[in-house]
Amino acid sequence: MATRRVPLVLLACGSFNPITNQHMRLFELARDHMHSTGQYQVVGGIVSPVSDGYGKQGLVLAKHRIAMAKLALQSSDWVKVDEWESQQPDWTETVVTMRYHYGRILEQFEQRTVTHVDSTTPLSSPSPQLKLLCGADFLDTFKIPGLWRDDHVQEVAGRFGFVCVSRGGLEPERVVHESDTLSRHSQNIFLVREWVKNETSATEVRRALRRGLSVKYLIPDSVIEYIHQHNLYTEDSERRNEGTVLRPLAKQAQQPVKSLDD
């Protein structure tokens, strides 16, 4: 008997400052890869822009980042923008965001299983999973002192898992290798090799915009229009939060390690 595929949702957390074609490519690559393992059915994608409380330099207002992501994803039939994280009063740890979304996914899944009791619905569909979608640079941040709590890395890697898209190098394998926590959960870390070298980063896009250079074909036209309408991404906007300590660093520094039930 064929094993049923596990329904899978991919969650991408980040600044999305602004969202780029490369961000959206991550979802496409991850979906193809997870399907090709034969074990998963990707049923949804979530873009979760970080809240303003993150304090990263150059971060424009969440309402703009959300609006741009919505415009960019208008034509996608499976990836959606979620505002929950951006609406929280303080910066939210990734693991907390994951717990929130996982809770909702389980709820929806349980509702569907209860209401659709007919002969066409498989009664015993495997439980859905949520995995964190990221680039290799994200995995690298685990080693920055004070940025992540060990127990959080443990939970994201152990309980949820990653789908990490790299740009052709062996970097993510090395990062996993050099981390005991990640190595312990390597079967939960899916590495997707992206052979098309594409360094379109939001940082580069902002740089080009500041200099009045074209970003067409790097981000959707609708997002370009929005940026011009609201005059986002100037030298001024890039100086926002200059000198501010990144919120996770500030938070981790002042708290002793708390229990898992935040």
Binding site: N21, R25, D32, V196, N198, S201, L213, K216, Y217
Partner: protein, 274 residues
């Protein structure tokens, strides 16, 4: 406007566009930004000229589809257009001839817009006679320029035996000019340095550094499609839909022309008449 005159430029990009990708389109944007940044140029038009089926490159699908996709890709551009002249020719056309064709079209369009100006006419006749004797860049003062837009790989291809006629290279670079977008792994400056012709006309070659490496190659796109993978966000959505609708790019389509010699190689290594 200002005292210093700004030269109007039309950028022409020749290639397979099999299929067109966001990278092809980016090249135009990068080239325009670069040229206008020098303060000497105003880029007024971009032309995409897909090669004809007679080129016989492996995996080259019908020109009709490549044209249509390029049109869809440039729908949202107010300055980049697609031209079918090259693809409609019965046999493969050398790049230099495509350049000449578009140069004359450009001049004709300019003259339509100008009042009768006998000085300009005289200048044009003089240019056509003496283009090899004067290698200085600014010999068509005030007149519009047509430049060939390309990647560093095209520059390197000048060195492949029997792919290009030396005279053609000299004319393209000497008379018209090149705007070359770098790609990681290619060093256009080295390429120019190592070629006598390119070195001679180096002032006509604008090298544009692409800081954001973006190597969406059509070869990669076709490979992904063959394997049923997504190519979304590598090409404009309209092009992705078109490919799906017409079921282009399969293992079969990639075998097209597999046993045929590329047209330029056939031409330059075959019969002596050319």
């Amino acid at each position: 406007m200002e005292g210093q005159s700004v030269t109007k430029v039309v950028l022409l990009s020749c290639g397979s566009f099999n299929p067109i990708t966001n990278m092809h389109l980016r090249m135009f944007e990068l080239a325009r930004d670069h040229l206008e940044d020098t303060g000497q140029y105003k880029v007024v038009k971009g032309i995409i000229s897909p090669v004809g089926d007679g080129y016989k490159k492996k995996g080259l699908i019908d020109a009709y589809h490549r044209q249509e996709m390029a049109k869809l890709a440039t729908e949202n551009s107010d300055w980049i257009t697609v031209d079918a002249w090259e693809s409609l020719q019965p046999v493969w056309v050398e790049t230099v001839k495509v350049v000449r064709h578009h140069y004359h079209e450009m001049l004709a369009a300019e003259q339509k817009n100008d009042d009768v100006d006998t000085v300009k006419y005289a200048k044009k006749r003089r240019i056509e006679g003496n283009y090899f004797e004067d290698s200085s860049h600014d010999k068509r003062r005030g007149g519009p320029q047509l430049m060939l837009l390309c990647g560093a790989d095209l520059l390197e291809s000048f060195g492949i035996p029997n792919l290009w006629k030396q005279d053609d290279i000299a004319e393209i670079v000497g008379r018209y000019g090149l705007v070359c977008i770098t790609r990681s792994g290619n060093d256009p400056h080295k390429c120019i340095h190592q070629s006598e012709i390119l070195w001679k006309y180096r002032k006509n070659i604008q090298v544009v550094q692409e800081w954001v490496t973006n190597e969406i190659s059509a070869t990669h796109v076709r490979r992904a499609l063959r394997r049923g993978r997504s190519v979304r966000y590598l090409l404009p959505d309209a092009v992705v839909h078109y490919i799906q609708e017409h079921d282009l790019y399969s293992a079969e389509s990639e075998q097209k022309n597999a046993d045929v010699v590329l047209a330029p190689l056939q031409k330059y290594t075959g019969a002596s008449s050319s």
